[in-house]
């Protein structure tokens, strides 16, 4: 499923202004049949104001909806919020930008 999610996200994410990172976290990383999908979107508030960031959430849900019918919860963080909260929320697995290490 994670590969499917990555493939769906990569079709949209490179064109999304201000988007800096998408991570998947929560039960989807631990169990085969999760009840939902939890994502963190990190954005650059110099490019996308917080009041406009919901567009990224909607676009991510659209992309995920092409490969999964699971409910999808998205946390939107500025880069600063992410730096201060990522260990609370959990590092999760980065889906975009993809790491090829």
């Amino acid at each position: 499923m994670i590969t499917d999610l990555q493939n769906a996200i990569v079709k949209w994410a490179p064109r999304a202004l201000g988007l800096t990172e998408i991570r998947l976290f929560g039960s989807a990383l631990r169990v085969a049949s999760p009840r939902d999908l939890d994502f963190v979107i990190v954005y650059d508030k110099k490019v996308v104001l917080p009041a406009r960031a919901n567009g990224l959430r909607l676009k991510l849900k659209d992309a995920v909806g092409t490969v999964s019918s699971l409910p999808c919860d998205v946390t939107l963080f500025t880069q600063q919020e992410n730096a201060l909260n990522r260990f609370d929320v959990g590092n999760g697995r980065r889906l975009w930008p993809q790491s090829f290490e």
Binding site: G26, D38, K45, L49, P50, A51, A53, N54, R57, D73, V74, T75, L76, F77, T78, Q80, E81, L84, N85, D88, V89
Partner: protein, 137 residues
């Protein structure tokens, strides 16, 4: 992990309504819809319109979305004990005259109006003796 516009669970709603109704500054509590409450307070304290949610970390984007959904909101509270508010979420609220609180902080903030309401912080406690703000003497 809930989003800002997801209805809070029934147990949390019951807890919220019971606790707020018992606050000594609250005259009445009216549920407007799934996530909105109007609180009237005693004396000269202004009414408060609360947006109730269960967001794990209330962010600046959440605050903007909630205010766009209901411009009359002047308090956002995230109910579960393990929830919190990001620094930028708090600041985004203050810029809009909206207090953004955990439940515990809302209970303290309801004693105040204006800046003290928006920027309510609990009194520091001396951990050794459990007294308010007296320092370690």
């Amino acid at each position: 992990m809930a989003e800002w516009n997801e209805r809070v669970g029934a147990e949390s709603i019951e807890f919220f309504e019971k606790a707020i109704s018992g606050h000594d500054k609250v005259r009445s509590l009216e549920r407007i819809d799934d996530q909105n409450y109007e609180l009237e307070r005693f004396g000269k304290l202004a009414s408060v319109r609360v947006w109730l949610c269960d967001v794990y970390r209330v962010s600046a984007a959440d605050v903007a979305e909630i205010q766009a959904e209901d411009p009359e909101v002047n308090a956002i509270v995230t109910i579960s004990n393990w929830n919190d508010v990001t620094v930028e979420g708090k600041e985004a609220g203050q810029e809009r005259n909206v207090g953004v609180f955990t439940f515990k902080l809302l209970m303290g903030a309801l004693n105040y109006d204006g800046e003290r309401f928006l920027d309510y912080r609990p009194p520091e406690r001396n951990r050794k003796v459990g007294t308010k703000g007296l320092g370690a003497h």
